[in-house]
Amino acid sequence: MEQRQQVWIVDDDRSIRWVLERALEQAGVATTSFDSGDAALRRLKREHPSVLISDIRMPGSDGFALLAAVQQEHPKLPVMMMTGSLGCSCCRSSS
């Protein structure tokens, strides 16, 4: 049984989520959006997507915290990180 491709979008900014949702849907990819890393982590306990796209700078669990948790529990799940701010706090290794 082939499961339909699911991409999860994690971003605290509504307009960014909207753009990503529309862009992916136009490409025929199903999406689910979360406005925080914590919300995505809660859902991850029950199910997981094909790919996860996350913002880095967010209130609560930021993108790095989310990435660390995903690597722990779902080491095979591909994660894409994105950011609009190139501040030095983001220049960390994601190993």
Binding site: D13, S15, V19, L20, R22, G84, L86
Partner: protein, 356 residues
């Protein structure tokens, strides 16, 4: 009793400047702090009249003091040093009775304290400023990303190519705003500090400016080639200095010239200087002095703020970026200006072998 050498040591290590005058107002002793304050060597001046050191009416006061035989303090006295520089001090005169009547004078340089207070306020302001800009930048860039993305998606839906002109405008203007915010944020990365020769930086800037200015200005190089290497990010320091010198160049070019435009690039070492509570034994000073019209008094207080510019076409970001780079090098950037002479003074600590 303590040995005499201990008293001598105490005097040598005092931060207060202390001098001793005899009954003829000739110098009998000055401690190292006094040598530093008056920028004179004590040994050479022992036995010289006090006027060799500074000009002030200490004398007339002192005559009465000898007679009164009680100490006297004067606040905020302006002393003119023999080479013309003026310093503001509080001083106390204490007559010492004995076989030889002598006057002990202690000096507290208050312009130094005022300068430190002003510098600290400046550093605190620029730090607050950066926090504000960072916060604002994040808040602006996110919606801009959404705006740009939505315009791109819309462009894909538009079959009438003429309508792309509309989405193009949205995208281009969003990019323009993002670039502005990026430039306001200053350098993206912390400085990569390496030992460099400061003259590599100054010369690079000098050549760039000479190429830009052509015959419009005369560039005067006044270097101290003995300055030790400084710890700095070469590219960032070039950027910081280039912004300052370009600012000087633009000030000269934009004003009707009464005399040939001139920019002096001067390098020196400075000893014993405090930047924002941190004391440094040795520092490198780079001065950029132009003979342009000067900075208008009404913007002088704010020239290091982003978006403050004396020129209509200026972005108002250059000096703010320079200052942010210099602060990241634990240095200071200051400016004083009057018509015909504007001086930017950039100080960067030089780490000595002991790592101080």
């Amino acid at each position: 009793m303590y040995p005499d050498s201990l008293y001598r040591q105490i005097l040598d290590h005092l931060n207060s400047a202390v001098i001793l005058l005899d009954g003829d107002f000739c110098l009998r002793y000055m401690n190292p702090a006094a040598e530093a304050l008056f920028e004179m060597s004590g040994l050479r001046l022992i036995g010289s009249p006090v006027q060799e050191l500074f000009l002030e009416e200490v004398e007339t006061d002192a005559q009465t003091l000898f007679d009164l035989a009680r100490p006297y303090t004067k606040r905020k006295a302006t002393l003119r040093l023999t080479h013309g520089k003026e310093i503001v001090v509080d001083y106390s005169v204490s007559p010492m009775q004995g076989a030889d009547a002598m006057l002990l004078i202690e000096f507290q340089p208050i312009d130094r304290l005022l300068r430190i207070a002003r510098e600290e306020a400046g550093i605190a302001t620029s730090r607050a400023n950066r926090v504000l800009v960072r916060g604002l930048a994040h808040e602006i860039k996110n919606p801009l990303g959404g705006l740009r993305g939505a315009a791109q998606l819309l462009a894909r839906e538009l079959t009438d190519m003429r309508l792309h002109e509309y989405t193009d405008v949205i995208i281009e203007e969003a990019d323009r705003l993002r670039n502005l915010v990026d430039r306001m944020l200053g350098p993206h990365r912390p400085p990569d500090l390496k030992p460099i020769n400061v003259h590599e930086v100054v010369e690079r800037v000098a050549r760039l400016i000479q190429a830009e200015a052509g015959d419009a200005i005369m560039l005067v190089r006044d270097y101290d080639p003995s300055i030790p290497e400084i710890q700095a990010d070469r590219e960032q320091l070039i950027q910081a200095l280039l912004n300052i010198v370009r600012n000087a160049l633009e000030a000269i070019i934009s004003s009707p010239a009464k005399r040939p435009g001139q920019i002096i690039l001067r390098t020196r070492t400075v000893r014993q200087h405090t930047i924002g509570l941190v004391h440094h034994r040795l520092l490198c000073r780079i001065e950029v002095i132009d003979n342009g019209p000067g900075i208008p008094a009404e913007i002088m207080q704010n020239i290091f703020f982003p978006m403050v510019s004396g020129r209509a076409e200026g972005s108002g970001l250059g000096l703010s970026i320079s200052q942010s780079i210099v602060h990241q090098h634990h240095g200071s950037l200051e400016c004083d200006s009057e018509p015909g002479q504007t001086r930017f003074t950039l100080l960067i600590p030089i780490q000595d072998a002991r790592g101080g």
